[in-house]
C-alpha cells in the first residue's frame, strides 16, 4: 500500500504515474490547485491522503468521430450497349484514439451487344483503403486496461508550482498506461487494394435456350507496416525501434458456365438449368522486420541495423469444382414444383471429396383456384400459399485449414539452428461433407387486398455428419479430432407480419414485425464409453442431491455448449454472527477452506453436505437467446419520410468482465465500476455485492480462475434496441426540375438507444464479455443528388 501505485501512497508531487500520497508540509501547496483533495487514511485515520481526481481519465481512449461518404456516378446507354461509371470517397474517424478508415473506390460496368443474340459484359471494381487500428493494442487492452486507468492517475506531469505542464506522463507501462502518451509512439500503417474484374458472355443459341459464361477475378492486397518509436515503459526508455512490413494477398478466380432452357406447352411451363463452376482461392503472405534504427524519423525497414526475427512467407490454396442443375415445373401458376441438385468437390477433403445435394419444393397458390375465387373466402384473403420444401446443403466451414485433413506436421520453432517439425494434427482422410437437410413448412397469407400479410415458416433442420471437434482422452496426445460427429437438429419458427396501414397518394405507412425462435437438439453421437454418448459437459448435483452431467452434447438432449454453470451466491455474510452460522463449512476454493469473513459470499450448498465444491454449481441459463425479433415502421407523408427500426432479443445471459475484473482487482490499479459503492462494508451490510478486496482473495467474484464467475455477476441480456431512425425529405421534381432528377436529404441516427438492464455496452453478445468493441452511436447527414 505504500508503493507508487494507483491506491498506494508512494507517489510524488510531479511525475509519478499516480497522484496518491500522504499530505505533508511539502506537498500541501497542491491543494491550491483544482482537482486536488484529501481523504483520511482508512488504515490510519491520523493521516490524510492527498490525491488528484483525474475525472474522465477512462474516456481518454475515445475520440469524437466523424464520417463523410461521397459517391458520384454516371450511367447511360443505347440499344448497342450500356455503361456505368462511379467513384466514391469515405472518411471515417474511429471511436478509439488514432483509429479510422479511409476509402477511395471506383466502379465501371458495361455491356455490348455484338449480335442480336450475343452480348458481352464486364464489371470492374477497385478500392483503395487505409484502415488505422488503434496503436494502443487489441480491444481487450484498450477497453479494459487503458479505459480502466484509475482516476488517481496523472495524465500530465505537474510543474514544481503544482500547475500541470504539457509533458505527458506515460503511466505504468505500454500495456496499461496513458493513451495520450502512447498514441503517437506506435506507427501503424495499412493499405488495402481490392480489385474485382469480371467478363461475361451471353449467347441466345435458340429462342428458348441460352448460354451464360462468366469469369471472375478478385484480388486483395493488404499491406501493413509498423514502427515503434523510442518510448518510456515503466521508467525505461525502450529504443529497440522495431520496424516491420507485411503483405497479405488473396486471389480468387471463378469460372461459371450455365445453360438454361425454358418451354411452355399449353398450361405447363418448364424451366431447366444446368451448369458447372470452378473456384480457386489462393492466399499468400510475407513479412519481415528489422530493429535498432538510430532514429524515430524513418519508419521503414531500411534504417534498422539488424533483422528482427526470421523473415517469412506462406501460401495456401483451395479449390472447388461443382456441377449444378435445376428444373421448375408449373401448372397454370397454381401448382409449382421444383427440383435442384449440386455436386461439389473440394480440395479440402481427402478420400471423400465429392458431395451430392438434391432438393425439392412444392407450392400451391390456393387463391388462384377456381373453387377459391368462387367462394366467399376470396373476399377476405387475397393470397393463400402453402409451401413445402426439402433440401440438402453441403458445408465445409468447420473443416479447418486447407490441408488439415491430411494431418499436419507443424513447426516446433528453431532448435540448434534448425526448424523442427512434429505431428500437430491427426490425418482425417475419411472426413465427409457436412449435410444439412431442411424440411420446411411454410404458409403465405394475405388479407385486406394484400395490406396485411403473414409469412410463416416452421423448419426442422438436421445437420448430419456434423463436422466438429470430438474431444479425445488425453492419453492420445490430442485434445480433439475433427470428425463427422453425429446429427444435430435445429427446430425453429420464423414469422413475419407486414401491415400497410395507409396507402394513399400523400400518405403511406408500412409496419413490419419479425419473430424468430429456435432450439438445437442432439439426435445422434458416435459411440463412446459415456452415458448418452456424452461429449464434454460438467458434473453437478441435481435437486435430489445426486450427481448428473449437464451441458456438452448428450443424445436426446438440447445442445448444451452454451449452458452457463456456476456457483450460486445465496447472500452476503452481513456480520460475524452470520459467518459463525456456517462454521466448519468447507469451501475447497478458499486458501483456508473454512475461513470466511463478513462481506464474503455465502454460497448455495446444493446437496447440503456443508462442502462447497465444483458439484455445487448450478445451471443458471444460456449464453444464446431464445427469441429474436424486431419492429420497423416506414411512414411517408408527401415529401417527408420517417423510418424507425428496432430489434429485440430475449433469454441470454452476459457477464461483464470489465466490471468483474475491476471488482476482483486481480490485476491491481484497475478502475472501478460504480457497483463498488454497493459492496459490503461494516456500515453497509444489507447488500448483494461482496466486500472489495485486493486480488479477490476469498474468491467472491472469480471461482478458481477468472473463467468461472459468481452467479451474482451474470446479468440478463434482454434488450430492445432503437437501431435506426431516419428522417428524409425528398425535393425531387420540386427545385431545378430541368437539371435534377432526384434530390433527397436525410438524417439518420444509428444505435440510438437501448432499453436494457445489462451493465455493459453490448447486450447483443451473450456469454463472457472480456472487452467488446461497442456499436457506435452515429449520426449521419446525407444527400442524394441525381442529374
Amino acid at each position: 500500500m505504500d508503493g507508487p501505485l494507483g491506491f498506494g501512497t508512494g507517489n510524488n508531487t510531479t511525475n509519478s504515474s499516480f497522484t496518491v500520497q500522504y499530505l505533508d508540509a511539502d506537498n500541501q501547496y497542491l491543494l491550491q490547485q483544482p482537482g486536488w483533495s484529501t481523504i483520511p487514511d482508512p488504515l490510519d485515520p491520523s493521516k490524510e491522503i492527498l490525491y488528484y481526481n483525474n475525472e474522465g481519465v477512462g474516456d481518454l481512449i475515445y475520440q469524437n468521430s466523424q464520417a463523410s461518404d461521397t459517391y458520384v456516378s454516371f450511367d447511360g446507354g443505347n440499344e448497342k450497349g450500356t455503361y456505368y461509371l462511379g467513384a466514391g470517397y469515405l472518411d471515417n474517424d474511429g471511436l478509439i484514439l488514432g483509429s479510422g478508415f479511409k476509402r477511395y473506390s471506383g466502379k465501371f460496368s458495361g455491356s455490348y451487344n455484338i449480335r442480336e443474340n450475343l452480348s458481352v459484359n464486364s464489371d470492374i471494381l477497385y478500392s483503395h483503403s487505409n484502415l488505422d487500428r488503434s496503436p494502443l493494442g487489441s480491444d481487450n487492452t484498450v477497453f479494459r486496461r487503458f479505459a480502466g486507468q484509475p482516476p488517481t492517475s496523472r495524465t500530465y506531469n505537474n510543474n514544481p508550482d503544482g500547475t500541470f505542464s504539457n509533458v505527458l506522463n506515460p503511466g505504468t507501462n505500454f500495456g496499461f498506461g496513458n493513451p495520450l502518451y502512447y498514441q503517437d509512439k506506435f506507427i501503424r500503417n495499412n493499405l488495402e487494394q481490392r480489385l474485382s474484374a469480371s467478363v461475361g458472355l451471353n449467347w441466345k443459341i435458340l429462342n428458348n435456350l441460352g448460354l451464360d459464361l462468366r469469369a471472375n477475378h478478385f484480388m486483395i492486397d493488404n499491406h501493413n507496416s509498423a514502427f515503434n518509436k523510442a518510448f518510456l515503459n515503466g521508467g525505461t526508455l525502450i529504443t529497440t525501434r522495431s520496424a516491420s512490413a507485411s503483405l497479405a494477398r488473396t486471389l480468387r478466380n471463378q469460372f461459371t458456365g450455365m445453360l438454361n432452357y425454358s418451354k411452355a406447352v399449353g398450361d405447363h411451363t418448364f424451366d431447366a438449368l444446368i451448369g458447372a463452376e470452378y473456384y480457386n482461392d489462393n492466399y499468400y503472405t510475407f513479412s519481415g522486420a528489422t530493429k535498432d534504427s538510430p532514429t524515430d524519423l524513418i519508419y521503414t525497414l531500411n534504417a534498422g541495423s539488424e533483422a528482427n526475427g526470421v523473415p517469412s512467407s506462406f501460401e495456401t490454396e483451395n479449390a472447388i469444382v461443382s456441377a449444378f442443375g435445376q428444373l421448375n415445373y408449373g401448372y397454370r401458376g397454381k401448382y409449382l414444383l421444383g427440383f435442384t441438385f449440386r455436386r461439389d468437390g473440394s480440395s479440402k477433403l481427402g478420400n471423400n471429396k465429392y458431395g451430392f445435394f438434391p432438393g425439392i419444393s412444392l407450392g400451391w397458390n390456393v387463391h388462384d383456384e377456381d373453387f377459391f375465387s368462387g367462394s366467399g373466402l376470396s373476399n377476405t384473403f387475397s393470397k393463400i400459399k402453402p409451401r413445402l420444401s426439402y433440401g440438402v446443403n453441403g458445408n465445409l466451414e468447420s473443416v479447418g485449414g486447407d490441408y488439415s485433413v491430411f494431418g499436419s506436421y507443424g513447426s516446433q520453432g528453431i532448435y540448434g539452428g534448425q526448424t523442427g517439425y512434429a505431428n500437430t494434427g491427426l490425418p482425417t482422410l475419411d472426413l465427409r461433407w457436412e449435410r444439412s437437410t431442411t424440411l420446411n413448412f411454410g404458409l403465405d397469407v394475405s388479407v385486406l387486398d394484400d395490406r396485411l400479410s403473414l409469412i410463416a415458416d416452421y423448419y426442422i433442420r438436421d445437420v448430419e455428419d456434423k463436422i466438429a471437434n470430438l474431444t479425445l482422452p488425453y492419453w492420445t496426445g490430442f485434445s480433439s479430432i475433427r470428425t463427422n460427429n453425429g446429427t444435430l437438429r435445429n427446430k425453429g419458427l420464423e414469422l413475419q407480419l407486414n401491415y400497410e396501414a395507409f396507402r394513399t397518394e400523400d400518405l403511406s405507412w408500412y409496419l413490419t414485425g419479425t419473430f424468430t425462435h429456435y432450439k438445437n437438439y442432439v439426435i445422434k453421437l458416435p459411440e463412446n464409453d459415456n452415458e448418452l454418448n456424452r461429449q464434454g459437459g460438467v458434473q453437478i448435483y441435481n435437486s435430489n442431491g445426486e450427481l448428473e452431467w449437464v451441458g456438452g452434447l448428450q443424445e436426446g438432449q438440447r445442445v448444451g455448449n452454451d449452458l452457463i454453470v456456476t456457483y450460486i451466491q445465496d447472500y452476503i455474510y452481513a456480520n460475524e454472527a452470520e459467518v459463525a452460522e456456517h462454521e466448519g463449512r468447507v469451501d475447497v476454493l478458499l486458501p483456508n477452506n473454512t475461513k470466511r469473513y463478513p462481506g464474503d459470499v455465502a454460497w448455495v450448498d446444493v446437496n447440503g453436505d456443508n462442502t462447497i465444491n465444483s458439484f455445487d454449481r448450478q445451471v443458471i441459463g444460456r449464453s444464446t437467446p431464445d427469441v429474436y425479433g424486431g419492429f420497423s415502421s416506414n411512414l411517408q407523408y408527401k415529401n417527408f419520410g420517417f423510418y424507425v427500426k428496432t430489434d429485440f432479443v430475449f433469454g441470454h445471459l452476459i457477464y461483464n468482465h470489465i466490471r468483474g475484473k475491476g471488482l476482483g482487482q486481480t490485476q491491481g490499479n484497475l478502475n472501478q465500476d460504480a457497483i463498488v459503492l454497493d459492496s459490503w462494508t461494516p456500515e453497509n451490510t444489507e447488500t448483494d455485492v461482496p466486500r472489495f478486496v485486493f486480488v479477490d482473495a476469498q474468491k467472491n467474484i472469480f471461482r478458481g480462475n477468472e473463467g468461472t464467475v459468481n452467479s451474482r455477476f451474470w446479468e440478463k441480456g434482454n434488450y430492445l434496441a432503437l437501431r435506426e431512425i431516419t428522417l428524409s425529405y425528398d425535393l425531387s421534381g420540386i427545385i431545378l426540375q430541368d437539371q435534377v432528377k432526384r434530390l433527397n436529404f436525410y438524417l439518420t441516427g444509428s444505435n440510438v438507444a437501448y432499453f436494457k438492464s445489462y451493465s455493459g455496452y453490448t447486450p447483443e453478445e451473450g456469454g463472457y464479455q472480456a472487452g467488446e468493441f461497442p456499436l457506435p452511436r452515429t449520426l449521419t447527414f446525407g444527400l442524394n443528388l441525381t442529374f
Binding site: I274, E317, A319, A323, D402, Y415, G477, N530, L589
Partner: protein
Amino acid sequence: MKAMKNIIIVVASLLMFTGCDSLIDLKPPSELTYQGFWDSETGARAAHTGLYGTFRGEVYTFWALGALRSDIWGGQTYESPSSTDFIESNITVSTAPFGGWAGLYSDIHRLNDFISNVPEIDFVNIEDRDHMMGQAYGMRAFYYYTLLRTWGDVPISTIPFTEENPESLSKPRSAASEVMALIKADVQRSLDAFGDDDSFWEGQRVYWSKAATLTLKGDVFLWSGNLMGGGDADFNEALSALNQVGAMDVELLPSYANVFSTENENNKEFIFAFQFEQDQATNFYSLMTGRTTEIHPQFDQHGNSMADYVTNGANRFGPSETTLLRLDDHEDSRKDATFIQLYTDDNGGQGYRSYNAEKYFGSILNKFSGSVDGSLRIMDNDVPLYRYADVLLMIAEAKNLLGQDPSDEINQIRTRAYGDAYDATTHEYSSGTKAANTETILAERYKEFVGEGKRWWDLRRAGASYVFEHVPYLTSAEEYKLLLPITLDMIGRNPLLEQTPGYN
C-alpha cells in the same frame, strides 16, 4: 443442326470440369502433412529437431512439477504471486492443477511417432539413426518418469495414435509398477541404441545423449529402490550407471557462477540442457525478475543501487525465507550466484551481508538472468535438466543407501562452492549415520539446485517423511497429496480413469 452441335460441345465441356479431379488435388506449398513426411532421412531430421522444440516447450512444467511444492518458493514477491495454491498444496479435485496430464501425452505421441517411423527409414549414416533412437527412447523414459512421479498410476501409450474412428478410446491408468517397468525398458532400449557411442549429438549438450540416459537411469533406480521396493539391487544399478557418466567428457566446472552464464553454454558440466536463444525461444525465468518500477528504487545485498538494472519481466515467484537463510553464507559462491536480494535501503553503503527481514524487498533470480541487449533483457540461458553436480550428489545418495561413505562427492561439491574460501576444518563433511548423510545430501542439493526444478523430487525420492519434515504445507495426514488428482474433464473424456486415491 449447327446449333445442336454447338450445344453438345458446350454441355460436354461443362461436364468435363467436374470430372477433372486434378483441379481439386492440391499440394500444400508451405505446410507439411502426413503424406510423405516419413519417406526420407530429411523428414526424420526435421522430426528430430521438432522433438527438442517440443521438449523445450515443457521446461516450465518440468520446473513447476519438480520444485514448486517444496520449501524453496512461496516467499515475498513485489507483484501478485503465481501458483500460490499449488505451492501451498491447496489441491482438490475441483482445482486439480496440470489438468490433461500437463499436456505431456502430446509430446509422448510425437516421440511414439518418431520411434515407430524412424527405424523404417534408410539413413546415409546408420550410426546417426541409432543415436537418434537412443535419444528418443531416453526422452520418452524421462516423460513417463515425470508422469509417474506426479500422478503415480498413468495410462501407457507407446504407439502413435492414428485412429480415425473415435469410438471406444477409453484407457485406464496402468499401475505405477507397470509404468516403472516401461521406463526401465525404455532406458535399456536407449542404452542399446547408443551402444558404445558416448558422443554428444553434433558435440552439443542440448541434445539427449548416452550420458543423459545413464544419469536418468541413476535417478530412476534410486526412486524404484527407495520407494518401490527395489532395494539394494536397484541402488547398485543406479550407482553403476552414474559411475559410468564421469568418463563421458563431463566435469565439475571450477566456478559455480560460470556454469549458468550465457557466455559459457555447452560447458562440460552440462549433461543435458534445454537450448534458448534470442529470437528463437526464451525461458520463463523472467517471472523471477520484475519491473523497473519496483526494482530501480532498491539496493542489492552489497548496497549497490539497482537504478541501472535492465529488466522487463515480472516478479511472480519469490524465494521462501528458508531458502534465503539456507543460502545466507557469504563465503558460499552459490549465495550471490543464485539471487540478487533487494533491500529498501543501502544500509549506509554497507548493504546487508546477512539477510535482513525488515528491509528485505524481494529477490531476482540471478542464476538464469539472461543477457542484456540494449534496453531489453533477453532470457536466453540454456536451462540444465541434468548436470554433473547432480550426478555426483546422486552417487553420494546411492552410496549412502548402500551403506557406503558418501562424503567424497559431497566434498567435491562444497570445494567448488566455497572456492578460495574453502576451509576443510569447517566445510569438509565426514560421513555420519545414514539419516545424517541423507539430510546432508538433501541440504547440499537444496543449495546447489535452486531454480533448477529439483527440490520436490529430491524430497520425494528420499521418502515421504522428508517431505512432511521440510514442506510446511503438508503433514503425514495428507500423504495422498504427494500425488496429484486428475480433473473431472479428464474423467469425462476417458470414463475408465479412476481418481487418484485419497481425493474422493
